[in-house]
Symmetry: C2
Subunit: 208 residues, 2 copies
DNA sequence: GTCTATATTGGGATAGAC
DNA sequence: GTCTATCCCAATATAGAC
């Protein structure tokens, strides 16, 4: 029951936001009444907190798997980018929850979203700069590359309801997702390719 | 007074969302009580509707100015991109309001956000594809290019509170904004550059 | 674990005085 | 135009029966 409640709450908080979701909505979604729900969680805040912590821990687990992948240069960058995109696509509710938190600065209810993400971000920056120094990537602002990657992939999923209208198609359908993935990979492939003439660090082909 | 209320409402709806903002908050922000506010606007929905329509009309005006700019190829693309970014930066509250609407699909309160944006989007797609056919841009999925540009620029501004924490700096400070602009321009400059060897359509330098 | 009943708060909206 | 007073309703939360 606890897990059912957590799942329903995740879905509704993601779709309607914290203030737009009542405990009645969540309780009704799992077929119980509000007081029964409050038997499992002491308050709405506490429920939201658990939803968010569960999301963070599941994501961190997958991210750590992804960055543990071997390789260097473009091979590794594209693998991590693909894993990140798959992570988003597999959890659209999480993506929208995350987007809502980012909009509010990520310090809701004492959850330090920035504190959790910053170490990963800094490690990625260090790695990128190391690859640039080794000549495998062109010299380019690593922080902005990562922010662009984050925005391009997360934004596509979080705003899918809106993008559906723009492209007059289901943005989260398999074919559309594949197109998106290869587009973003192609973009960064070009952005990171060393200037032509540099022999040591030419990038391999796109792969997928 | 009406304008004061609209400004305050824009700011609070952008920061806290529709459900997270009470008429008390807005009224207090302009120094009156709730019933006085309801003398100017018949309901909360109506107030939000006016906020949103005002935003749309101001944006459309500036966008139409921007796309009226002359030139072709990279010269025009970069000019429009820069104008779009400036538009976002000048109106961070609008950006966050827009992002919230996109999250919910853009069909709140009968406002057809998709219907307003689609013609502009389609026109931009047509133009890009024409430039590709003319050899001034590389052949690349025009829709995805535009979605990436939208996400890269809008996401940077809408998630500024979060990005502040990541880069440990003010993401909306002039220097950071200049860095962001040149990064994104550089990215698209490379993405759109025709394959080397094509003589007719080489891109000019970055400009700014 | 789930429920009914209830306390309490806060928000949207209206009536009517000034 | 602004206010006080009031109505109505929805929401969080608690008490206590089963």
């Amino acid at each position: 029951m606890r897990d059912q409640i957590l799942d329903e709450a995740t879905e509704l908080f993601a779709r309607q936001g914290y203030d737009g979701t009542s405990l009645n909505d969540i309780a009704a979604g799992v077929g119980i009444k509000r007081p029964s729900l409050l038997h499992h969680f002491p308050s709405k805040d506490a429920l939201y907190g658990e939803v968010f912590e569960k999301m963070l821990s599941e994501w961190l687990e997958r991210v750590e798997d992804a960055i543990a992948s071997p390789g260097s240069g473009w091979e590794r960058f594209s693998a991590v980018l693909t894993s990140g995109f798959d992570l988003f696509v597999d959890n659209p509710a999480y993506v929208r929850l995350m987007r809502r938190e980012a909009l509010e600065g990520g310090d809701r209810l004492g959850i330090d979203l920035v504190g959790v993400v910053t170490p990963l971000f800094d490690a990625a920056v260090d790695w990128l700069e190391g690859e640039m120094a080794a000549g495998r990537f062109r010299a380019i602002d690593a922080r902005h590359v990562l922010i662009t990657a984050y925005a391009s992939l997360l934004g596509y999923v979080s705003d899918a309801p809106f993008i559906n209208g723009l492209i007059n198609d289901d943005a989260l359908a398999p074919a559309a997702l594949a197109a998106r993935r290869s587009h973003v990979l192609d973009l960064f492939h070009r952005a990171l390719a060393p200037e032509s003439g540099t022999s040591a660090g030419s990038l391999t082909s796109l792969g997928s």
